[in-house]
């Protein structure tokens, strides 16, 4: 496509604007963020290098470890549920059932409102229900967990549905025709034509749900805020429904020494997410149809 002589020119036109903004908006802040994780600082201008100190503290933080396991469990459950629901809904909506357009609009609706507000609305709803049983989201971690799962499925399924629908619609019609001519039944069409052709969408959606669930912050903050919290025997406060992003965020402002620790937690968190996300990408990309 891009022949040698003009290659440089075109790479400038096509890639440079995005890449330049990317450096400003991400790469530079990220690198200095990594550097700060080795520092003690209040503002980025007064950072003092302290080596691995922050990392040692981060790994000894009970609350951080707890938030890791809570997040991991949450990610597994939500990624599976959201993708199953979204794929099924998108499939059903491209079948041409009556009211498809309305449903499509409605299912995406939750995304019109920001995460914090959604969290508060669902908090009202859950607590309104739980109140009848004399309990509350803030009293039992199980409610918080399933509350978050329901909230995320409800919101993200509509979001992923949009991507799946775009995927379904980019499967060439001829493929279906060819399959029909070959005498494939509905199930065979789904497993042999639709799913392989849908792999790019599946890759995208599972990657997005994975990272979204890992990074979940707004909804966590608004729905449970990490509650209930329990003060352990060692005297440190352990939030039962706190996910990693919220833990990191709270660490930043916990006290005057903790900003660097928060930053190092963020780096640890980042490494974990990268490893898992790359593994997932590798696995699903392998299954994609090579054109």
């Amino acid at each position: 496509m891009f022949r040698k002589p003009k290659r440089k020119l075109y790479s400038l036109i096509f890639v440079l604007p995005t890449f330049a903004a990317f450096i400003i908006g991400f790469i530079y802040p990220f690198i200095s963020g990594v550097y700060l994780s080795f520092c003690k600082f209040k503002t980025t201008s007064d950072a003092k290098f302290v080596g691995l100190d922050n990392y040692v503290k981060a790994f000894h933080d009970e609350g951080f470890l707890r938030s890791f396991w809570f997040t991991a469990l949450f990610v597994v459950v939500s990624v599976i549920l959201i993708n199953l629901i979204a794929f099924f809904v998108a499939y059903a909506l491209t079948l041409g059932i009556r009211g498809s357009n309305i449903f499509r609009t409605v299912f995406f609706m939750p995304n019109l409102i920001g995460g914090i507000i959604l969290g508060y609305i669902w908090q009202l709803i859950f607590n309104g229900i739980l109140q009848n049983y004399g309990t509350n989201l803030a009293l039992d971690a199980r409610f918080g967990f399933w509350g978050l799962i329901i909230l995320m499925c409800w919101q993200q399924a509509g979001y992923m549905m949009i991507i799946y629908i775009a995927g379904f619609q980019s499967v060439p019609a001829d493929l279906y025709e060819a399959a029909r001519i070959d005498g494939a039944d509905k199930k065979q069409v789904l497993t042999n034509v639709t799913i392989p052709m849908m792999m790019p969408s599946i890759t995208i959606c599972s990657f997005l749900t994975l990272t979204n669930s890992f990074k979940l912050f707004d909804q966590n903050l608004a729905l449970t805020g990490g509650a209930p919290g329990v003060v352990s025997d060692s005297g440190s406060m352990i939030y039962q429904t706190q996910m990693m992003a919220l833990n990191i965020y709270n660490t930043f402002y916990a006290n005057q020494n903790s900003r660097g620790v928060g930053q190092s937690k963020a780096v640890i968190f980042f490494v974990i997410v990268v490893v898992i996300a790359l593994a997932q990408l590798y696995l699903t990309r392998k299954k994609e149809v090579q054109q």
Binding site: N136, S234, G235, N257, R259
Partner: protein, 452 residues
């Protein structure tokens, strides 16, 4: 044909973009700094300017107006930016990093100061320090003065005079006048009797719901928790500690139990209740007592209550010299001047502060538009009935309870106590958990915050 269509869509989008850009352009130029301020900036750059990072969102408008007035009077540029509720620390952190950092900011007490001490200008020679009515309202360490309080607030148990009078007049009451409500036992008697005769008095409960929602839980995890800390500090003759002993936690339990038992709702509902609930219950006359502070005056009078309905009692917990106990009075809002700002800006900021607390325009705005009671010599007389009550208590020789919650080691500590209280009220946790959160949590959090 397809291409044409795409081009059309793109053109349309671009046109829309341009229109909105033009609009923003207009907005930008017509708003922001007035032309006059711009002129001064160019003309007399040496005069310096003020950049205030304000803490109270509800006072934002009033501060903007006051800043404008000052600029009109002196030509000095004053920018006021307000942090959204609950995000002051984030906002300050981000703002302090800017090339033009705030010249004026605030901390909430000794613990907040520890965070920002390196940025605080020593105010001991400033005019504003000399304007203070009492040096106790400054935040100092050794000789240096790092923060100056700009608003003094009181909290206690707000009561509805009208309903309470109805109780005093009734035949089931054992306590007959407000002066006799001067100890925890008396308060408990009154509350219990009101609770038992709620229907006769037309109320739902003695106390408004002690909501443990985040808009309301600070009343208990922070303000109420101040009392056991205050009495312990007083007994030990200290002003802060690395390990609280919890000597007065039984008293803390007694008062909290009373709030939960004699309430408008069941303990299991408290986790769900918020500030609006309590405020509504009180202003509709569904409850007689409401633990809150002088800042509540405006909302309550807006909701229809009058000065004749409102009074404030000290929070009696059955400790110390109850007969001479006053309201909890203090401050958690201290102005600090940024040491790292350039000299002119520091000078301009100090002048501005002095003008705010000495000039007619400044003191009027602080008192009337913002509803602050300022601890400075030129302060306007307060109209706030709770502030008057505090003055009255002091005049009658009662000792105000100081605000020691500013020495609580961290937000995490407060949250730990808060959740333990919530669980305790709901019956899913025990009081021991509250004690653990209070005592052990303090030690851990203090160590974490002060480790080097």
């Amino acid at each position: 044909m397809k291409r044409k269509h795409i081009t059309r869509v793109a053109a349309l989008a671009l046109a829309g973009l341009m229109t909105s850009m033009a609009l923003v352009g207009c907005g930008g130029s017509s708003s922001s700094s007035s032309p006059k301020a711009d002129k001064t900036k160019d003309g007399n750059a040496s005069k310096g300017k003020v950049y205030y990072l304000n803490f109270k969102p509800e006072a934002d408008g009033a501060w903007q107006n006051l800043a404008k007035k000052y600029t009109e009077e002196t030509g000095i540029e004053v920018n006021v930016e307000t942090a959204a509720e609950g995000t002051y620390e984030e906002t300050l952190t981000a703002a302090m990093d800017k090339s033009e950092a705030p010249t004026l900011f605030q901390v909430n007490g000794p613990v907040g100061l520890a965070n920002w001490k390196d940025y605080c200008y020593d105010l001991k020679d400033s005019d504003i320090y000399s304007q203070l009515t009492s040096k106790d309202y400054a935040l100092s360490e050794g000789d240096a003065v790092y923060g100056i309080s700009y608003v003094i607030e009181s909290y206690g148990i707000i009561y509805n005079k009208t309903i309470l009078q109805k109780y005093f007049d009734s035949d089931f009451s054992t306590v007959k006048k407000i002066e006799d409500v001067n100890s925890f036992d008396a308060l408990k008697t009154v509350a219990d009797e009101i609770q038992a005769n709620a229907a006769a008095l037309g109320v739902k409960g003695a106390f408004t719901s002690a909501g443990m929602d985040s808009t309301s839980d600070w009343r208990f995890k922070t303000h109420l928790a101040n009392l056991p800390i205050y009495f312990e500090y007083k007994e030990d003759g200290i002003s802060s500690t690395d390990a609280i002993k919890g000597t007065y936690l039984d008293n803390y339990k007694k008062i909290f139990d009373l709030y939960v038992a004699d309430s408008t709702c069941a303990g299991t509902d408290l986790a769900n209740k918020n500030m609006t609930d309590a405020e509504t219950e009180f202003s509709k006359g569904e409850a007689v007592f409401f633990q809150n502070g002088s800042w509540e005056y405006t909302p309550l009078t807006t909701a229809g209550l009058t000065d004749a309905d409102l009074g404030m009692l000290p929070i009696y917990v059955g400790a110390g010299d109850e007969a001479n106990q006053g309201l909890c009075t203090g401050s958690e809002n201290f102005w600090c001047v940024n040491k790292n700002a350039n000299k002119d800006d520091i000078a301009a900021t100090l002048n501005f502060l002095n003008w705010c607390v000495t000039s007619e325009a400044g003191t009027t705005a602080l008192a009337e538009d913002m509803g602050f009671v300022i601890p400075f010599k030129n302060a306007k007389e307060a109209t706030n009935v709770f502030v008057k009550a505090d003055a009255e208590y002091t005049a009658n020789g009662k000792t105000p309870v100081s605000w020691n919650f500013t020495t609580m080691p961290s937000e995490t500590w407060k949250n730990g106590v808060g959740t333990a209280l919530t669980q305790y009220a709901a019956g899913t946790g025990s009081w021991d958990d509250v004690v653990t959160a209070f005592v052990d949590g303090w030690k851990t959090e203090y160590a974490a915050a002060n480790a080097e």
